[in-house]
């Protein structure tokens, strides 16, 4: 893209955003909040897909397990979930290591479909185990601050949800820093681009995979904890996140972390845009998928065979 074109495009988007903001400010507010949740959950998947090259179908289930652990830690020790989040993330990092060492490591040489179905099996085991232990009855933590609202003139909206875009930005910033500035991160990027080449130059590919997978498990568990503060959890709560994240990562293009944020923003705002028209909410599901297909097709049209 030329510079002029880019300027033109971003100017157009800014004006569009301004119009929407003046016309119906809630579209933008809720859209950004929604996009934040999408992006923060999808980023760890993009990380694993970009570096370990596996589609982790247990992604959402790991979020769910993190949320349940947070729930039980909070209830047992009377902790605020936002504090319980940290020890849980550590435990989930270890769980990620165990899962990697026991299962995923051994399928990396096999066709990618094996990893897909392996993680599908893992998702089933995780989901059904939690179901057996905790039953399917939804569980909820009541935290007062989640309903904090702000009134500007006629407009009243919840502010707590901005925690999701904020977390997304922190995760993205942290990951980019990690990948670009740290030794392990640079090595991880090298592995992501060319595992064989990385091996030749002496990078311990297996260790990188282990770190990246466990890191992503810990990150998605943090999102599980945050999700718990806002929503009820139940054993199947993670499933839809797997698919949404997968779709977002595909829309962003594999390996592009900032792309995930942009894709989430576009989808989040357009969904809330449609939802703001009464009675058309049911169609917002189509927007999500139509956008994804559209973007993938347009990109493929530009000559690149993807």
């Amino acid at each position: 893209m030329t510079k002029a074109k880019r300027l033109f495009l971003s100017g157009g988007i800014f004006i569009l955003a301004l119009i929407i903001f003046i016309w119906r400010p809630t579209i933008l507010i809720y859209g950004i909040q929604r996009a934040g949740l999408y992006a923060a959950v999808a980023l760890p998947m993009a990380l694993v897909l970009g570096i370990v090259h596996i589609v982790n179908l247990a992604h959402g289930e790991l979020l769910m397990v993190g949320a349940y652990l947070t729930y039980f830690v909070s209830v047992t020790f009377g902790l605020d979930p936002l504090i319980a989040l940290l020890p849980v993330a550590v435990v989930m990092f270890l769980l990620g290591m165990v899962i990697y060492k026991l299962t995923i490591k051994h399928t990396l040489k096999a066709p990618e479909l094996n990893q897909l179905i392996l993680t599908f099996g893992l998702a089933m085991v995780l989901g059904q185990s939690v179901n057996l232990i905790a039953t399917s009855q939804p569980r909820t933590l009541t935290v007062d601050y989640v309903s904090t609202s702000l009134s500007i003139g006629e407009l009243t909206f919840g502010v707590y949800d901005f925690i999701f875009p904020a977390t997304a930005l922190i995760i993205l910033g942290g990951l980019l820093f990690f990948l670009r500035k740290t030794r392990v991160g640079k090595a991880a990027q090298a592995v992501g681009q060319n595992p064989r080449g990385a091996e030749i130059v002496g990078i311990d590919v297996d260790k990188i995979y282990l770190i990246i997978f466990s890191l992503s498990t810990a990150l998605v568990s943090i999102m599980g904890s945050l999700y718990l503060t806002k929503q009820s959890i139940f054993p199947l709560v993670g499933g839809p996140f797997t698919m949404k994240s997968f779709a977002l990562v595909a829309m962003a293009g594999i390996g592009s972390l900032p792309g995930v944020l942009i894709a989430s923003l576009v989808l989040g705002v357009s969904e809330t845009f449609l939802l703001s028209f009464k009675g058309y909410g049911g169609w917002s599901n189509i927007v999500f998928f139509a956008f994804i297909i559209g973007v993938i097709l347009i990109r493929s049209h530009k000559g690149k065979q993807i």
Binding site: L116, I117, V125, M243, I286, I293
Partner: protein, 317 residues
């Protein structure tokens, strides 16, 4: 033609499966029918996989076939068997139109696009109440053959044999050569003058039709369609798991995988009523870990002493 022992055994299996209702009860027959539904899905998915394309559109085509079949019976009064076939044709037509646009995509991008299209079909049907029953779905006044188990079983078996035959034919015909060439190395295939797109479109259309037929069978034998059950995600990953567990790139693999997983799941729940799906998931994990080439692949390695079976490296990305 020389009668080889192979053909004899095939014939025995076919005869046994035709005679199955005479030595098995209605419960065993209904399990067999459920297995067949998943077997057709697994087989057709595997047929497309042979070209290197991974489809997640199974549930979408299954649902289209189911709805087309039910709508054709309800609105036009066409006999059920015919609507199943027509449902398959409708699905094929939809798929070929889609294929024109999306078959350019590869690997994960193709997978996610087929998944998204399936979801779009479901949402459309869900949100258009006057056309296809909306969120509630539709019921048929009766089920196929008035619920006669014997005829229904044979119809299912016929569909299964047809699918196996089709898959086998694809393995043996010229299409197979072209397809393997695409999977192994698309660029070389192009250079050799193979019209990749044409072959992909043919296979995509045919396999979607098979999935539509499976949907029609399901709808006509249970007598209803609903958006949630007819487009259920169960019809995507379970058949793929079955194909993989049996052994991909072969015709026998998906067949064996569907039988094994279908029967095991019935078994587990008799002994572990609460929580049997944990064990089911564990079985999938363990088989993938210890039999990366599936059951058929493992058998070949055992017998052959060969380390590899078929082509196990990644489909081109």
């Amino acid at each position: 033609m020389k009668i080889s022992p192979k053909i004899v055994i095939f014939l025995i299996i076919i005869l046994l499966s035709i005679a199955f209702p005479f030595f098995a009860g209605p419960y065993q027959q209904s399990i067999a029918k459920n297995v067949i539904i998943y077997m057709i899905l697994a087989l057709s998915w595997n047929m497309l996989l042979k070209t290197g394309q991974i489809s997640f559109g199974l549930a979408g085509f299954f649902g289209i076939g189911a709805y087309a079949s039910v709508l054709l019976s309800l609105k036009l009064g066409i006999p059920p068997i015919l609507t199943i076939v027509l449902g398959g044709i409708v699905t094929s037509l939809v798929a070929s139109a889609m294929g024109m646009i999306i078959l350019r995509l590869r690997a994960m991008y193709f997978a996610i696009t087929t998944l998204a299209l399936g979801e779009i079909f479901r949402v459309i049907i869900h949100n258009v109440p006057n056309f296809a029953g909306g969120a509630h779905g539709l019921i048929l006044p009766g089920v196929i053959f008035d619920g006669n188990g014997l005829y229904t079983y044979w119809l299912f078996l016929g569909a299964a044999l047809f699918s196996i035959g089709l898959s086998y034919y694809f393995d043996k015909s010229k299409i197979h050569l072209a397809l393997t060439a695409i999977r192994d190395n698309e660029t070389t295939a192009k250079v050799r003058g193979i019209d990749i797109f044409k072959y992909l479109l043919i296979v995509f259309t045919i396999t979607a039709g098979m999935q539509g037929i499976a949907g029609g069978l399901y709808a006509q034998s249970f007598g209803f369609v609903t958006p949630e059950s007819s487009f259920s995600g169960d019809f995507i990953l379970l058949p793929i798991a079955m194909a993989l567990l049996g052994g991909i790139y072969t015709t026998a693999g998906p067949v064996v995988g569907a039988i094994v997983l279908g029967v095991i799941s019935e078994y587990l729940k008799l002994y572990i009523p609460y929580g049997h799906l944990i064990v089911y998931g564990l079985i999938i994990v363990i088989v993938i870990l210890f039999m990366p080439n599936g059951i058929i692949g493992a058998l070949y390695v055992k017998i052959d002493g060969r380390k590899t079976f078929g082509k196990v490296d990644q489909p081109n990305e």
